[in-house]
Symmetry: C2
Subunit: 436 residues, 2 copies
Amino acid sequence: MKDLESLSASQAAKALAKREIKAADLLLSCLDRIGQRESTVKAWVSLSKENALARAKALDKGPIKGILHGLPIGVKDLYDTYDLPTAYGSPIYANHYPSTDAVSIALMRQSGGIILGKTVTTEFASFKSGPTTNPLDQKHAPGGSSSGSAAAVADLMVPIATGSQTAGSIIRPASFCGVVGYKPSFGKISVAGVKSLAPSLDTLGCFGRSVEDVALGVAAMSGDHGLATVDDLHNKLRIAICKTPDWELASKDTVSAIALARFSAESIAKGKVEDLSLPKTFDHLRESQTRIMLSEMSRSLAFERDHYSKKMSAQINKQLTDGAMITYAQYSQDLDHAKAAQFWIAELMNNQVDLIIAPSAVGEAPLLKDGTGDPIFCRIWTLLGLPCINLNIGSGVNGLPVGIQLIAGPGKDRFLLSTARAFALALPDPVLRDQA
Amino acid sequence: MKDLESLSASQAAKALAKREIKAADLLLSCLDRIGQRESTVKAWVSLSKENALARAKALDKGPIKGILHGLPIGVKDLYDTYDLPTAYGSPIYANHYPSTDAVSIALMRQSGGIILGKTVTTEFASFKSGPTTNPLDQKHAPGGSSSGSAAAVADLMVPIATGSQTAGSIIRPASFCGVVGYKPSFGKISVAGVKSLAPSLDTLGCFGRSVEDVALGVAAMSGDHGLATVDDLHNKLRIAICKTPDWELASKDTVSAIALARFSAESIAKGKVEDLSLPKTFDHLRESQTRIMLSEMSRSLAFERDHYSKKMSAQINKQLTDGAMITYAQYSQDLDHAKAAQFWIAELMNNQVDLIIAPSAVGEAPLLKDGTGDPIFCRIWTLLGLPCINLNIGSGVNGLPVGIQLIAGPGKDRFLLSTARAFALALPDPVLRDQA
């Protein structure tokens, strides 16, 4: 069998479960692809070739272990792995070998997943880029902080890879690389064993090439295996477009993407899709998100700052200094602001709106030299703790992907996945419908 | 100066800040006390004598570093420390040397605290006891899971020590050992770097010999330094006694403790203190807490179970098996139940009741052979995420301490500390008033 690396995670998982393909062959196809492309894409920090192949062969001989049986997985190098070094994107941890897997990784292995290697993260999942390029145009950035995972999945190096989002680190790179990125509801996946940046915000998730792929990944990572089965949609949907208070920052490409999204939304909603205006108090929600993130970062990285500040970038040292200058009273006020907004949005999404569509990013991927891109269109949704999925909706002036995000009410992950698949199936471009 | 080890943390901190005593002398007094008593109490897993003494001397010479300047601290061996081994109460991690401090420990060091050593925890903070005895009567248990920390503080080995609570692991041992235990609001202290048991429940906190001590500890651990100053109470208080749905399990000692607490409560409330009856839906809240804990444990310890189940006790292996049998649908329903109850109690405590008084434990410390004691009277308060403080209110039939817990609304930690101090000052026994 050829081109196994181009199978989506859900296609591969089905074929593996029926023993139509071998885990070892799929793994070798992925390794081939990595061999051809890694010098350009630079998505990987480490690879576990021998161990992964041994495990693949064992899985081919043994019983079906679970929903990820035989699937190769890329793991963001912010997650602890007991068998591969884990550097959190920082030279401080260059030779760090954790003794345990992150909880979500142990659960992926329990479901039969094969950890193929660790993917590039920015420094402590903040803004200092790693070497990864955008696989669609190597002059451009893949986005951050889950740079390597988004690029590896986009480039067919691996069908699925893990990410984490504190501001916009799943949705933004997914949009830039043209893959499906899924940040589930806050707290859905245990963050234990993943380097902590801002505990009130840190959310784990994954990348795939279809909605079914990311459903599979988060099902395994959370232990909510029912999530892997994406239901059909039956009920009438109430969808709203939310341009957010930062709409003026959206590029023409993002403006067009939202217009395109409206058409597909109206076809699945079977009616007109209105614009949602957020209450005035939401205007400063992204500043609250930024302050909460910086304030918590200054505590989360206190050990590193005290012991190794010279091994940290000027960028992150500045963030830590800024964070330490935010008063606890201001930080508490921001948490209260977030809580009130969470309450408001939960009420709205229980009673009036089932699904929100919003921009994923300002526009196409920026040039490599310009960094990881602005997470501005993700900040408030992360703070609100809502489940979000990025879908690719077309391409921009440079021919690079432009995404939009679908957002459901808190805890409504299962509904979000169903809606995202229905939405993808309603897209006019047949290639984009493959994201279903 | 003599008997430095008997100073409370806040007394010592004040004397250290004024350079009236030396950190090195305080440390040596604590080490002397440990030398005399450790063979009986068995509170410590490891001690950092040389490093701690070197640091104490450096602090004596240097500027005042922060609110814990020069204070020796016991750290529950569930918290990572970069300079001491960390075993989580399990032989699996017998030779585990983390590369980083838990966030809360790094923050305590930033505030000038001296990590004196690691204290005994039960196996992964669950029910399998370590060797620690109750310092007041070595035939009896200190309670768990923060066994060593509670015993060490009670026995004057250290003025302050850290704990964690997933069911009743701070409040219960505090009650059994007759010390002040403080579990702040859920999320107040970052859990990063502390072995995860059940992420929806795990809450860090500390033990001291007065309300001011635990205020100091949690102020440093959370970064909310304002918390260290315990305010005077001015407003009229609305206090309610909550016997909880498990009142029939309370021993005579606990029944008397609640009756005694009512007197002091009425003196600070300046009026009659009513009983709070919880809504019918709260009747099964402790079962929800138990299932959430077991279900999350089965995921949190997936790695250990897959790799080292033979090094785990029969007790915890059974918990993990039980946890894995709880369906995700049941678990989700329990989380929804918790969320609804959290909403109800927040409303109540915003509008009608400022402070709840409830039992801390069934009664006095059980015999060593009978384990760590039942956390039943703590389960719902942990699930509700409310800040709780244990105060010793007298002694029971065996002459061992009996505590009650004061509970405030979510996030109202500062208020809780003020109230707890006022309450302690209103106790009839002058010795117990030292807890203020």
